[in-house]
Subunit: 376 residues, 2 copies
């Protein structure tokens, strides 16, 4: 346990009591494999659905500091998770650019305005960070409410992932519009991505200043790109974000995590990113990924969220299989390969909450056992 | 050109005039890189839309020999494609199992009955191939109508891909139901996949007897599986299909192609399959795939279909880039690495038909040039 004196604009945060997640990010030894879950504060929890009903809408929830704090802490009250993640959405930045984000009930995100022609691209600018004040306020409020239980992760969508939504106007099956623009007018696509990268960097830095102890870049749609295009239109702009990030805050290292869903083929190239952790989805074999990435990164992932629909005994067995596929993580002083347990994608809203309990217990129990095994 | 004497149930087929596709499947030299496109007979062609309107429905089109023949030949009348593919659907086999396939206009496939419990799984059987007679009749009719212009490819969905639709009842975003069954009751999933594999093998063998000169297994949803599950629930059953396939018909080799969309991470394991060609999607670098797969397979793919939304000059440039990434294919006698140009997924219904013209010309033109370059 590393005692930590944290200050923020004159406010003190409580010292951190469980630093296993941050240690694993930095490839330091931990007595168990830390676990958190993408979208761990979400619709599968009845208490979340209650808060959301009171808030009226998803954006009503995300923009209200008290609600955002409440739902961020809900999964921590149920499960022994090792990190909290800011409750927000990956699309807050283009919303602040004036594109008008909304969520109809039971549907994905929609933008009122889309960015499909030269005029719309030229009009894009890094938004005034004051428009995102509600996010930074939530970060500070959550960090205080956590009282040092676990560290708080901030996040943003990647420049490419934001561009997908900004051009398509919402989700897409085939990414036809954004790719048509990319293949037809790469100059316009590069301009969108530059603005996005600079905006994402400013946004994450403000989250760090507000109290985020690690940041994650969700490249949710990097994996839909062709080889060659991924490097040019996604990876290069993730790199541009990372190059502008604050690396320490008040003397403490702020680890960054990059997760490209469907990016398993490009792990060698991602290993070269200036970040601490690479997230991988369930198509990736963790042992092979460890061998391919080498010693410069921690790995985060990668259980198929659908495992959580199986009975607890199978959930346990699959968690054990996954921990074993990574192998024994680093122990002792110095740095070495470490694993942060997570899903390979956000948890499904249909997940039975008691199965999450089985998962967290399996990960903590088996990972402790692995460390005490002869030869470990 | 290999003259070929073909007979089918007493009928003679005309000798093949363009055998570049079959030669490339068998890793023999060709004077250009052959090209065909997944879903080349389809909605992007106005003549297809006319025929479909006359047929009344997708299944009305697929089950009528004359219509199926007509639409299969339509793209060949427009473009210098090097192969024809049977016009049909990957879901004919579960339809013949009694699940009741339908296509609402503008929507994906739907099954009337789903396979989600023990009773439904136990009731599954390899269907009587007579129920699929309309497919075999179409194969023979198309083969005759082709008059030896190019070879005819038959196809089926993979056992796993069929299982996805049979359990989900249609398309899915998250494969929740089929994966819940797989993780909870692997015994039931294995039984579904055994029946599917035996049915697919019987189905492809009947297509070969009816006149198909190559067969392709579309593992469209293999890529949604976790590492480990892919090998156990998809690859093993593709292998089971291949082990039962007719390898020659009337003295001529019938090449088989396996395409797992999203399967790029598992290419080394797929290289071990007893088939002639591996299809790859656009996330895969063809040069790296060639190095990873080794000399035992031809590669098919892998242009992002969205490239076809760019103007013809960019379509040309992307085709050249892709051919160059594979490198110069085998020339001279014996066998060596070969490439069959295709998309990495079916062509979009929104594709401008004149862009396909640009693609075919670019592939033929540049691949001829590559073969005449010094050092090639």
């Amino acid at each position: 346990m590393v005692p930590e004196a944290c200050h923020n604009g004159g406010m003190s945060f409580a010292p951190l009591r469980n630093d296993s997640f941050l240690r694993a990010c930095l490839r330091q030894a931990t007595d168990h494999t830390p676990i958190w879950l993408m979208r761990q504060a979400g619709r599968y929890l009845p208490e979340y659905r209650d808060t959301r009903a009171r808030a009226g809408s998803f954006m009503g929830l995300a923009t209200n500091t008290d609600y955002a704090t409440e739902v961020t802490l809900q999964p921590l009250d149920r499960y022994a998770l090792d990190a909290a993640i800011l409750f927000s959405d990956i699309l807050t930045v283009p919303d602040a650019m004036g594109l008008g984000l909304s969520f109809a009930l039971g549907e994905g995100p929609k933008f009122e305005k889309v960015v499909r022609d030269e005029a719309a691209v030229k009009a894009l600018e890094v938004p005034d960070m004051d428009k995102l004040r509600y996010v930074f306020d939530a970060v500070t409020s959550i960090r205080k409410a956590l009282q040092g239980r676990v560290p708080l992760i901030g996040f943003s969508g990647s420049p490419w992932t934001l561009a997908c939504y900004m051009v398509e106007g919402g989700g897409s099956d085939d990414y036809r519009l954004v790719k048509a623009l990319m293949y037809s007018r790469p100059d316009l696509m590069h301009r969108i991505l530059q603005v996005n990268a600079d905006a994402v960097a400013a946004y994450l830095n403000e989250q760090i200043r507000a109290g985020a102890q690690a940041v994650m870049i969700f490249d949710s749609w990097g994996g839909v790109l062709a080889d060659g295009c991924f490097q040019e239109f996604s990876l290069a702009y993730t790199r541009r974000v990372l190059s502008q990030l604050v690396r320490t805050h008040e003397g403490v290292t702020i680890p960054s995590i990059v997760f490209t869903k469907g990016g398993g083929l490009w792990l060698e190239e991602m290993a070269d990113l200036d970040c601490e952790v690479l997230g991988v989805d369930w198509t990736v074999n963790l042992g092979q990924a460890r061998a391919r990435v080498g010693s410069s990164k921690a790995l985060q992932g990668n259980l198929d969220p659908n495992v959580l629909f199986a009975p607890p005994a199978q959930v346990h067995a699959e968690a054990v299989k996954l921990l074993d596929s990574f192998g024994t993580p680093h122990q002792g002083p110095g740095m070495g390969p470490t694993h942060i347990f997570n899903l390979g994608h956000g948890i499904s809203q249909h997940t039975p909450p008691e199965h999450v309990q089985a998962l967290v217990e399996a990960v903590h129990g088996h990972s402790r056992k692995m460390r005490s095994m002869p030869g470990a």
